[in-house]
Symmetry: C2
Subunit: 492 residues, 2 copies
């Protein structure tokens, strides 16, 4: 821990600062002794944290909780019957593990259905359908007309290329085929560098007069599993049907086109958007004892795509959140601050649960001391990411160093999660759980996101790490300093 | 980095110390400024390290090398035809990737064969065989007589319990059923806390007059895959047949016995030990330029158990070692010191390759500046473990912090590996590669240790991390300080 970190930690943990006067702290003299170990003020928490991790490993319920969710509602896209079962499961499970103030909070969610027909066929010279390619409609896509759309395929790797070749694109089916960058060590960064093709490709293709949009699946795995995900139409474009191809299918098509072949395909989709449906966020609490008005939020999202089991995305986050609370209760802790578990609805295709939570709790957001989301899978923990201001960051880093017993001792700058994202507007420090991510996008949004791809101990370590962090945050003498409000926020 | 670490790093990297006068350095004054970043002396290496990792991810051959080994010689227990093919593969592959001085170094290895018959049947009251339980003979076990050994099962969880109940054990088949401790976050520590049952159980059972030894498989997974592994007989005991049961089979047997049932079983094994066979370590080098007499060793072991593909244990280590060298060549580096790749033979059941390397190179061990082994699987890197003395430890830690791009930035105190272990006698600092270990023992020594359980990017990151560490070590102005010789070594 360097000097600035050490000073920040000391100041905050001793309660010497108000939670809003961060900028007035002076740098301490350089003769302050250095510590290799975390701040001594945190040492009293070490045994608790290690015991929580041990409990997660030895008597934990993480995998049982996840298994139960995946069995109860393997398909739980917003507005589906599965999503309604998942909400019931969340409420029932919160009561079963002993949470208080369990309630459903209303969220009006979009209702998109995949429909029965999804097909992409390569056409021969006579226009007759031949090879079938693996695909999934993107969430939010319109259907094709009956009989589908038949057109020649044009392959691009960027919107810039598409615009430069706009004249060629007219009447075509555009395949956006830029892979996730394998040179990125951070797979989420690689995802972020490619996902614009999925979310915005159909709008861009529409602007140049194309007839449909295909996108290479957002994964570095080379296999035949297409990965779905959300897209949206800009309001000024005609909506085009949009679907994801497996990486192998995209490679096959692109190779033929690159070889100079004119490849035509027929795309048929029967997906549709129905009127919005009333659904819910599921909320339960461990009431605080002492400063119960102050709230620490932990959550994941209950909804999942309609393929696989939503095991990593985000059954794991639901299991982590519930199990973290259960572990704290099982160890007999009664935190000073209230720990609130929120299972959010509709992260995948609308983030309406995030919006509903923000609006529904706006009067108490100044009492939210931290919000933590687990929405990056159930793999072995590496640590956490946070948007916290530099002083809170250093305090969090000292706390996270206590989580070595759960392999979760790294703190990085980064986002918290879609569902807690709006809370940044109120200055709430956000934290995202960060497990190992090398395998995540092999499973994300595809039929491989199944229970058996989650490892029981890896999942349990995540729950233990999150429980440890919640326990410390909920009991610190003073809350972490809040972030500046966005309108005055300095750039990091 | 704390003061002592910083001072040690500065002193070593500046070349201010001879490589053998470590103990004379005084502690620097506490006013030395602290750095949050790695030592500036190492910064020139950062770009190289990151480029090596990028090359491993984008143009890497790790998975192709492993796939080739697993296809060429999936079964390669010492003295088998597969082991001979693996040696040929190692020599051929070293030449193909451009190593110099490629040669085979002789190792006389034990020759144990599993044989055709392995069976464990529960007997009914009439002594007739009923339920069949999953098992594998332990490597080194003697066979049962034809027709097998039939006896009642006695279940114990420790040698102490066995001795305390010695009178009951006479004539029985003893099942050693102490699980790997799930409370251990470090799975290798949990393995270390249970594996005495496998390696020594038969000798202990023999001492109390038992007729055979069974051991619960060394894994925390609850499934029906037995895990084999090495055992040995003390010279003063009658050798008993010894085999590993799957964890589920062990649980089923133990539950019946715990319920008061007298459970008898029939064990049949046809394994045998034949005369020793001549095999080889496979050695190749990137010759140094400048201080080529100084040697950095990197290696894994070529042999593997005769189940699965030996993909994680230790095909991964062979692929890591070969690919690390290939990456260094591919990036155009010509290290100051010689990097020597060693694919060891017979780690699994004798460590004869380790012994042969030590004895065969004893005259140059004082010029071995470091030895690194990868024998902990092909999962996402976490970092490295080392037996290095405290000063070398802090220098290594600063170097390892450069490996953040490969997720390998943690350095722990620990062992290097079985194959390089003897080099500790010459004061060589030993380093073991440490990937994530939560899944390792699900696959270790069992039929699940297959190529498809290795993730291409995870494997590639390991190669990149090892390449980065080798590159820095082989080019430092001065070698790391050596360890004290064991006869004068202080305890850590």
């Amino acid at each position: 821990m360097n000097l600035a970190r050490r000073a920040a930690v000391l100041a905050i943990l001793a309660g010497a600062l108000s939670c809003t006067s961060a900028s007035t702290v002076s740098t301490p003299p350089v003769s302050v002794p250095q510590l290799a170990a975390p701040a001594p003020e945190l040492e009293p928490y070490r045994a608790d944290v290690e015991a929580l991790v041990r409990e997660a490993l030895v008597n934990g319920q993480s995998y049982a909780l996840l298994s139960d969710l995946c069995r109860t509602a393997p398909k739980r896209l917003s507005a589906s019957a599965g999503a309604a079962r998942a909400v019931e499961w969340g409420e029932r499970t919160m009561r079963a593990i002993g949470l208080s103030n369990v309630r459903l909070e209303p969220v009006l969610v979009p209702h998109w259905e995949r429909g029965e027909t999804e097909s992409l066929r390569v056409l021969d010279a006579a226009g007759l359908p031949q090879e079938r390619l693996s695909l999934l409609a993107l969430g939010g896509s319109v259907a094709t007309p009956p009989g589908g759309v038949s057109a020649e395929v044009m392959v691009v790797t960027s919107f810039e290329e598409l615009r430069a070749r706009a004249a060629q694109a007219r009447g075509k089916i555009v395949l956006f085929n830029r892979p996730m960058d394998p040179a990125q060590h951070d797979c989420f960064a690689a995802y972020g560098g490619a996902v614009d093709q999925r979310s915005r490709g159909a709008s861009e293709a529409s602007r140049v007069g194309a007839r449909a949009a295909l996108v290479r699946s957002m994964t570095m795995a080379l296999d035949d599993h297409p990965h779905t995900g959300a897209m949206r139409y800009d309001i000024d474009v005609e909506p085009l049907p949009a679907a994801a191809l497996s990486t192998l299918a995209a490679d096959r098509l692109a190779a033929r086109v690159a070889a100079g072949e004119r490849v035509s395909v027929n795309l048929q989709l029967s997906c549709r958007t129905l009127p919005d449906v009333l659904s819910h966020n599921v909320v339960g609490e461990i009431p605080g004892t002492g400063v119960e008005r102050e709230i620490v939020v932990v959550g994941g999202h209950l909804d999942a795509w309609d393929v696989g089991h939503g095991a990593h995305d985000d059954g794991a986050g639901c299991a982590h959140s519930l199990e973290a609370a259960r572990l704290i209760l099982a160890r007999g802790h009664r935190p000073r601050r209230t720990i609130r578990v929120v299972l959010f609805m509709n992260e995948e295709n609308g983030a309406r649960g995030a919006e509903a939570y923000y609006k529904g709790h706006i009067d108490e957001l100044e009492r939210h001391v931290l919000a933590l989301e687990s929405d990056a899978g159930g793999f072995t923990p590496r640590g956490f990411a946070t948007n916290a201001n530099p002083r809170a960051f250093e305090s969090l880093r000292a706390i996270v160093e206590l989580l070595d017993a759960a392999s979760a001792n790294a703190l990085r700058v980064g986002g918290g999660g879609v569902d807690i994202g709006p809370l940044a507007n109120a200055g709430v420090p956000l934290v995202g759980f960060r497990p190992d991510d090398e395998r995540y996008f092999d499973h994300h949004h595809c039929e491989r996101d199944t229970l058996d791809s989650v490892h029981p101990r890896e999942l349990a370590l995540g729950s233990g790490a999150i429980a440890g962090l919640l326990h410390v945050i909920a009991n610190l003498p003073q809350p972490l300093p809040r972030n500046p409000q966005p309108d005055s926020a300095p750039s990091r």
